[in-house]
């Protein structure tokens, strides 16, 4: 499938614009979070506990994309009170990146 050069150029410009908007949002939320960390020392974080087994099961379903809307909200309510478990979720997702890349490479 061939694209006209002007169409390709428009897509590239839109891509750059979108990227800079995402970067701006990224920066803003990070700035707000760091500000709260500096000025809300009364928020005591739990040490880097792993979620208990029954919670890991729920989080694994969430990571696998197997939760419906209500289940997602319930999981997020827990993650909001235990933000350190968000690290656990993101680690699980990131560990799949290597597996996905290998699977793509072997096709």
């Amino acid at each position: 499938m061939k694209f006209r050069p002007s169409a390709i150029l428009v897509c590239k410009i839109a891509g750059f614009a979108r990227l800079s908007f995402v970067e701006k949002e990224n920066n803003e939320f990070k700035i707000l979070s760091e500000f709260l960390e500096r000025f809300a020392p009364e928020v005591v974080g739990h040490c880097a506990d792993e979620p208990p087994p029954e919670m890991q099961e729920r989080l694994d379903r969430f990571v696998a994309g197997q939760c419906n809307e209500a289940e997602i909200e319930a999981v997020c309510v827990v993650l909001r009170t235990r933000p350190e478990w968000t690290n656990w979720v993101s680690s699980r997702v990131k560990s799949q990146r290597g597996a996905d890349a290998d699977a793509d490479g072997s096709r």
């Binding site: 908007f21 995402v22 949002e25 990224n26 803003e28 939320f29 990070k30 700035i31 707000l32 979070s33 760091e34 500000f35 709260l36 500096r38 000025f39 809300a40 969430f62 990571v63 994309g65 939760c67 997602i72 909200e73 997020c76 309510v77 993650l79 909001r80 933000p83 968000t86 690290n87 979720v89 993101s90 997702v93 990131k94």
Partner: protein
Amino acid sequence: MQFPGDHGADFELAQECLLGDERAIRTMQERCRTPLMQFLTGSGAGAVEAEEITESLFTDCTIGHGTRTARFEKYGGRCALLSWMKTIALNELISVRRRQATHRTAVEMAEGAGSNPGETGDLPFQGAVETAVAPADATLPVIMKTALQKALGECQASELVMLSLVHLKGLTQREVAELWRWDEPRISRALRRTMQHIAERTLRHARATDPWLEIGWRDFVQLCQTADSSLFE
């Protein structure tokens, strides 16, 4: 000495001002006077008020007062000097407004008790003046923190977790889309909508504390970046 974000020159300038270098002090004032005054008037200060706060800030930054050291001694070059000074200036504007509100309330109470506040002598009541209008005696970071926490408290848990996964934990929008079983554009719209709500609600809560405070979201974020507890000691 390493300075994040290339603020080494600002740090050097502040240090030279502290040493009493008149050329450096003049440079600092010329560079910062107009932006500071524009920032203050944009935040609700009158022109004269903005000028007074700015000139007073210049003095406080370079000369100590009583037990308080010159403010520039607390500037570590972690952010732009102008941004740092804007934070202090806005906090001073808030303090000025509170003192005015306290005085107005005291005058109203005295007049209500049949006294003429213009006369010399004691007011006809004892004890501390209760301020009916002025907000709690909070510094700027406390106002900002409270407003932001309230705004975040009004978000749904899923909205905050989504923001956190993408903007703090480094997941891609595609990966988050798979968790939610949405497509990527929907994730993007949700993230943008949540940030917009946070901005609107935060500013609304800040204004509820200080109704005259006219601050835009961009300024608020910049203040979050530069605000440091040592600024207000």
